[in-house]
Symmetry: C2
Subunit: 337 residues, 2 copies
Amino acid sequence: MTASTTQQIILTGDRPTGPLHLGHFVGSLRNRVAYQHDYRQYIMLADAQALTDNMEDTGKVHRNVVEVALDYLAVGIDPAKSTIFIQSQVPELAELTFYYLNLVTVARLERNPTVKEEIRLRGFERDIPAGFLTYPASQAADITAFKAHVVPVGEDQIPMIEQANEIVRRFNRLAGRDILVECKALVPEIGRLPGTDGKAKMSKSLGNTINLGASEAEIRAAVKMVYTDPLHLRVEDPGHLEGNVAFLYLDAFDPDKAALAEMKAHYVRGGLGDSVVKKRLDLVLQELLAPIRARREEFAKDRGQVMQMLKEGTMVARETAAKTLDEVRAALGLSYF
Amino acid sequence: MTASTTQQIILTGDRPTGPLHLGHFVGSLRNRVAYQHDYRQYIMLADAQALTDNMEDTGKVHRNVVEVALDYLAVGIDPAKSTIFIQSQVPELAELTFYYLNLVTVARLERNPTVKEEIRLRGFERDIPAGFLTYPASQAADITAFKAHVVPVGEDQIPMIEQANEIVRRFNRLAGRDILVECKALVPEIGRLPGTDGKAKMSKSLGNTINLGASEAEIRAAVKMVYTDPLHLRVEDPGHLEGNVAFLYLDAFDPDKAALAEMKAHYVRGGLGDSVVKKRLDLVLQELLAPIRARREEFAKDRGQVMQMLKEGTMVARETAAKTLDEVRAALGLSYF
């Protein structure tokens, strides 16, 4: 079998630092439900990576592992089709990281634009935890352990993929054969959903999210606060669509594209109030999230079973990662017994 | 049992990048033979650490693991008393390193004087492999995995011990209890033997060593080349002892201190030729190294048995390291199943 005839492998995942929200749904979860039919999909709960900037609140990471797993199940990720696992419980990933650290220079890590930007966002400056600077090596370990061909990422994460591939090439050159596999970034069409407040990113820390497990009342309250057009003061005024979160959300979720196009035209020429648009948005989001919430509640009744599912996924992931690690170790002359 | 009533634990070891020599014997090996009676001693063949600057020659590291183990056995390190193990075969150490990277900042690593100096010596400048910059975290993992109280190091390595202890304190503070143990540097009285050429350090790369496994002829040839006193041109001239490697070696190895004192006095007042001094040195080194060489050759007949010894030591080491790792994981909220 050659790579072209075997099933392609995807690695994806999330840092379990809080409940997943509509931004995750649009940017990744929705796609994963589709990918699991066509790809061999590994989904990682990146608890170890989450620690790089959560050492002072490790309990948060621990608690959110099962919560994020519930979100996965709720949106329709099927553990029979996708391998869901907990990063820290696959120690082979830490070991691969350890060796990959020798294949990348400090200067190269410091030049990584994703790392640079995240250091800036988190305000680390010179007090970056070493684990934060080196996390591209860890990510390379996660990707290569499963010999992933495809990694779905946002545009801003492309430099991480490039760095992983540099490590792959350097390692394969040292090994004298192609043990590790280069991967491709898969950037989703709708990359990012703005926050309810109109900020570019929906983010828990900004308080501008709608969580997948949100109740009816929470959805309604969030929709009421959704940023629209600050210049659209009276119903009869022409409204603007640019940066109008209500319409951006409808673009993402309203299944009735024709009605939406009509509504947009009406809004732009004037005579359509925000309350009408928001009423539609509320309806669309309630319909989208009601079955997700219901499934989430159903699965949440037996968290033991969810943990059992994670345990089984983790065992499968370990087996694959251990095989890659064995090959890496042998190539580095680290097999003795 | 409190720490004061239990046996103290020592962690020590070598990077297996070449045969051990008289410098190792004076600086560490000799002491280990003594320590193994009074301490619980772990001796690590640091093959994984050796890779940080030997990725282009991993075969060298692999080959030297058994060679260094033979040197250990030859000098009288007893695997029944000391636990000798191979670092890379204790993956718990890589995993601990991975987590400790979150407990130390990049700035702090860059300030480490030992790291700074070794970066300078190796000519890395900005192209330092990340694994080289972060190796204090790896060393902290090695030390703490065994809850070592004592780490024998040269004076230049004291900053490494300080950094390990900082990680210990930071971790224990986060954990809310004393899981990891702080260690003390144990600096040997005779820290460093100069090279045969008079350079401060005996080092394989400088070609100024006398290996523990050296043959009679090799010892004789090396002694002939030993740096003495360049001003001592004629036998009747007064000789100088400062920097005189022949006498520095006699200081380290000649068991007859009285005769040595007399010889020194004679040399200083003039009338004693270098050839006499070197003849004595040759005799002393031949007597020191003959039994070591014989034992080495004996053990070398069955390398399979040496590997078996390493396998058993590694199993013991893994068990200890795994216990510590379990505690560390639990404290970080990384226990799930």
